[in-house]
């Protein structure tokens, strides 16, 4: 019975709030007063900030992500161009002077430790640049 009453009160208040004319007078009913107060309180949340920087931070995050992808594509293009040039050079050398190619090959094989060291140093510099230098630049 109580459930029915509550259901009816809720329905009538809802109708009133929607501007529908309600024939029943519920003004003096205690539960109705409580429901009215509740409906008013439910329609607002004081803790929701009106001027939050959400839009700005979302756009900033999207821009950062776009820049990251652009940088990735740029690096990819540079790598592709470098490989292409390297391959062309190799072909040209192989066609014109196979001896020179052998000399370069032997030099690289005999100094493989030095070559490997140079490559590791290069990669290390790139990683340090990405994770330390560029990160610090963001905060400065």
């Amino acid at each position: 019975m109580e459930n029915m009453d509550d259901e009816e009160i809720q329905r009538l208040i809802e109708q009133q709030l929607k501007g529908i004319q309600v024939s029943v007078n519920l003004e003096n009913d205690k539960d109705t007063k409580l429901y009215r107060l509740l409906f008013t309180e439910l329609s607002h949340d004081p803790s929701i900030l009106k001027d939050s920087p959400l839009a700005q931070s979302v756009v900033h995050q999207i821009q950062m992500e776009q820049e990251k992808w652009e940088h990735f594509y740029y690096t990819l293009i540079i790598a592709a161009v470098a490989i292409f040039i390297g391959s062309l050079t190799y072909l040209a050398l192989a066609m014109n002077n196979s001896n020179l190619l052998n000399i370069i090959g032997q030099f690289l094989i005999s100094n493989k430790t030095v070559c490997l060291f140079i490559m590791v140093c290069f990669c290390l510099i790139q990683v340090l640049d990405k994770y330390l230098v560029k990160k610090n630049e963001q905060f400065s």
């Binding site: 459930n3 509550d6 259901e7 809720q10 539960d31 409580l34 429901y35 107060l37 509740l38 409906f39 309180e41 439910l42 329609s43 607002h44 949340d45 004081p46 803790s47 929701i48 900030l49 939050s52 959400l54 839009a55 700005q56 931070s57 979302v58 756009v59 995050q61 999207i62 821009q63 992500e65």
Partner: protein, 182 residues
């Protein structure tokens, strides 16, 4: 207010200022939803950002079959729900309701009631204690002023369930208010 279709097409053409407008337009909808579902202040902002980034990335798949607000609210609801599942480890969130309805009568502690500064704060605190589904329907219906049908679309709950949760949530809160004023 600019036409939604126009704003979307600008965003799809890479205009971030139009997206900023879109975020501002639906910020309240998303914030209310995330805030009420997650209830963890530190994660709220990150989740709201996550929602809008998902909106940005998937905007091209929006085909105007529903209102943009409904579509955004759907993303906000599922993102917030995933966050809750991830951190609470609960797969079946409906079990919350049964647990709550069994114990809500004894959780009323007079000292905590006395601590509440005013009715508004009291109600907001009581809302926080409600099960997730109740909080969700209350937020969507009262704060975001969405229809039962839109709530059904967003949450996937049948319209009858939405109405029932809404009724029970309001009744529980009314009972709490009654005790508060005693």
């Amino acid at each position: 207010m600019q036409n939604e279709e126009e704003i979307i097409s600008r965003v799809l053409n890479g205009d971030l200022n139009s997206f900023k407008l879109l975020v501002k337009q639906y910020e309240r909808l998303v914030t209310c939803m995330v805030k009420r579902v997650i209830q963890h202040q530190e994660d709220e902002e990150d989740t709201c950002q996550e929602v809008f980034i998902k909106v940005y990335k998937n905007l091209s798949s929006f085909k105007f079959q529903s209102k943009l607000s409904t579509w955004i609210a759907q993303i906000a609801y599922s993102t917030a729900l995933n966050h809750v599942r991830k951190f609470s480890g609960k797969k079946n969130l409906t079990s919350d309701i049964a647990e709550f309805e069994n114990f809500h009568q004894i959780t009323d502690n007079p000292e905590s009631i006395l601590l509440k500064k005013n009715t508004s704060e009291f109600i907001q605190n009581e809302i926080k204690k409600l099960p997730l589904q109740y909080r969700t329907v209350l937020t969507l219906y009262h704060l975001n002023e969405l229809s039962y049908h839109e709530i059904e679309e967003i949450t996937g709950m049948p319209e009858g369930t939405v109405k029932s949760y809404l009724f029970r949530a309001r009744k529980l809160l009314k009972d709490k208010l009654k005790n508060y004023f005693k």
